[in-house]
């Protein structure tokens, strides 16, 4: 893999210089070999993890897994249906909160750039993005579970997820909005369109694919969050879509089953992981499709 370097030495090279060149080339081969090794390590890791998830998760997959609720501790059988429904519901509610707020934040920062508060909004979004999710869980617990709602509830879980998602949406949409050529905005404004119409009818539609990307990214991320849900949604082994009751979720089920001693539950944890990975993988594929359309 080394590129042949034409040394700028005359053909009547002194042997020592030749040895130096050879030594340098050997050093290069060794180092590049190490770099290749590093790459292989990273690739092998990914493949190993995915392989285990697939191989150990597949045995758990059957109709009961997707349709039944869990059996009492220690009994074999049942499924994770409440957790599946819970994840979908949490995604829907948290998305309904986070996507508009995230888009608004991005619009605020890009379109109303001269505003006094544009910088704080951006700064705050980046900081929240860097916070450990358990800290966000503690915050939402104090605000909603102990405070406004008064007990563990699905809405608290959704709000916690929304807080995590907003910076992701905002950051991605901001990048996309910045790509919209200013000439478009200026032309519209010159034609007398009001600011809000420029944003809603011209800028956003142009950035449509990016907004979709942002939403998918954020939803995929929220589907895998566990720590904040431990403190807010608590978990529910019954089917529930009540926002004011605790709710189950895939990551919660995986965690509780993983640390249990029951083999059946371990298999179910792998199965639930497989479902999560497939869903997130599908989201990723969707992203690629959307991105390709954007370029076009």
């Amino acid at each position: 893999m080394t590129v042949a370097v034409t040394a700028m030495t005359p053909s009547s090279a002194i042997p020592m210089r030749h040895r130096v060149v050879v030594r340098r080339r050997i050093a290069e081969t060794v180092i590049v070999g190490l770099l290749l090794l590093a790459t292989l390590v990273a690739v092998v890791l990914l493949v190993t993890i995915l392989a285990y998830v697939i191989l150990r998760g597949l045995p758990a997959i059957d109709i009961a897994f997707f349709t039944q609720r869990p059996k009492p501790f220690g009994e074999v059988g049942g499924g994770i249906a409440p957790a599946l429904i819970g994840t979908v519901m949490l995604a829907a509610v948290s998305g309904a909160i986070a996507i508009p707020v995230g888009i608004a934040a991005a619009i605020f920062v890009v379109e109303y750039r001269s505003g006094r508060f544009a910088a704080p909004v951006r700064f705050a979004a980046e900081l929240i993005a860097g916070l450990p999710s358990i800290v966000i869980g503690v915050f939402v617990w104090a605000l909603l579970v102990r405070g406004l709602v008064g007990h563990y509830a699905a809405i608290a879980g959704a709000v916690a997820l929304a807080v995590i998602m907003v910076p992701i949406v905002a950051r991605t949409v901001e990048e996309v909005l910045k790509l919209v050529p200013n000439s478009l905005r200026e032309a519209a404004l010159a034609l007398g369109a009001p600011r809000w119409k420029v944003i809603l009818s011209i800028v956003l539609p142009t950035a449509r694919a990016g907004v979709l990307t942002a939403s998918i990214l954020a939803l995929a991320r929220s589907a895998g969050e566990t720590a904040p849900l431990l403190l807010t949604a608590l978990g529910n082994d019954f089917f529930s879509t009540d926002l004011l009751r605790p709710i189950g979720a895939l990551p919660l089920a995986i965690y509780r089953y993983a640390i249990s001693p029951y083999d059946d539950w371990h298999t179910k944890a792998w199965g639930a992981s497989l479902v999560l990975v497939v869903v997130i993988g599908a989201a990723g594929m969707l992203l690629r499709v959307v991105a390709r359309q954007r370029v076009r």
């Binding site: 080394t2 180092i31 109303y112």
Partner: protein
Amino acid sequence: MTRTFDRAFAVGVASLALLVPLTLAAITVLLLIDSWPSLTTFGFTYFTTTEWDPVKLVFGAAAYVYGTLVTTVVAVLLAAPVAVGAAIYLTEFAPRVVRAPIAFTIELLAYIPSIVYGLWAIFVMVPVMRSIVEPGLQATLGQLPVIGKLFSGTPIGLDLLSGGVVLAIMILPILMAVSREVLLAVPPTQREAMIGLGATRWEAVSRAVLPYARPGIIGGAVLGVARAFGETMAVTMVVGNSSRDISGSLFVPGYTMASAIANQFVEADSDLYFSAIVEIALVLLLVGIIVNGVARVLIRRSIADRPAGAVV
């Protein structure tokens, strides 16, 4: 009328957008209020004591801070060479055809949820650590004079080392993605100049490209550190969760700050105990803010501001 609507729209967008800094402020305030009893009772000794006793109501988080630092350092030491090495290989040496696909594959690691890492770590990684890696380390590096202490004690598998290793795997994709981005941003003139002067490919990279990219790569490492600091679930599942005196060994079960909160938050019943746990969250908040800020400044400076063709 349009003007009123325009204004209303702007206000509407602003109100939603301002929720973001408002949330950050609310987080800070709530954490401060709830950790107040602990802050005032223990003050600075909170960080210097390892005694964490819910019965006697004495709380010192030194062991948790130590655990977080140790696992983070291990994670960066393990992940950085692999990530940067892979990034260099994929930007400079790999056949062009495979560059993007392989990079994409590795970055896929970032999409795997933390809980799945935890699951894999408990059932696949920990047994390997316990029966192969840790005894191996003990037999080899454990025999050396100074660093041998790091590998002393009975290998259990559920310890600080495992915590560090799983963190390393988790920050690998971030480090690699940032490094790759930074390396790609280096103007080609840097490399070409070196090669024109007779350097081998590697020499060109190491002497002209890497120094140029170094701040950005360090920024990526800082981002990785930020991620490692706050990672909760995967670490909780393998780190051992036992608060003990700070010993010098990696084979000892420990806590990280995030895992301490995850384990003890729901049940910290006395006021002081509860506020001691919330204080951990407060510390994580503050550290997260600092570290994240530093990382982004470093990366942005490295990618955006260099004019093309500049000499290092």
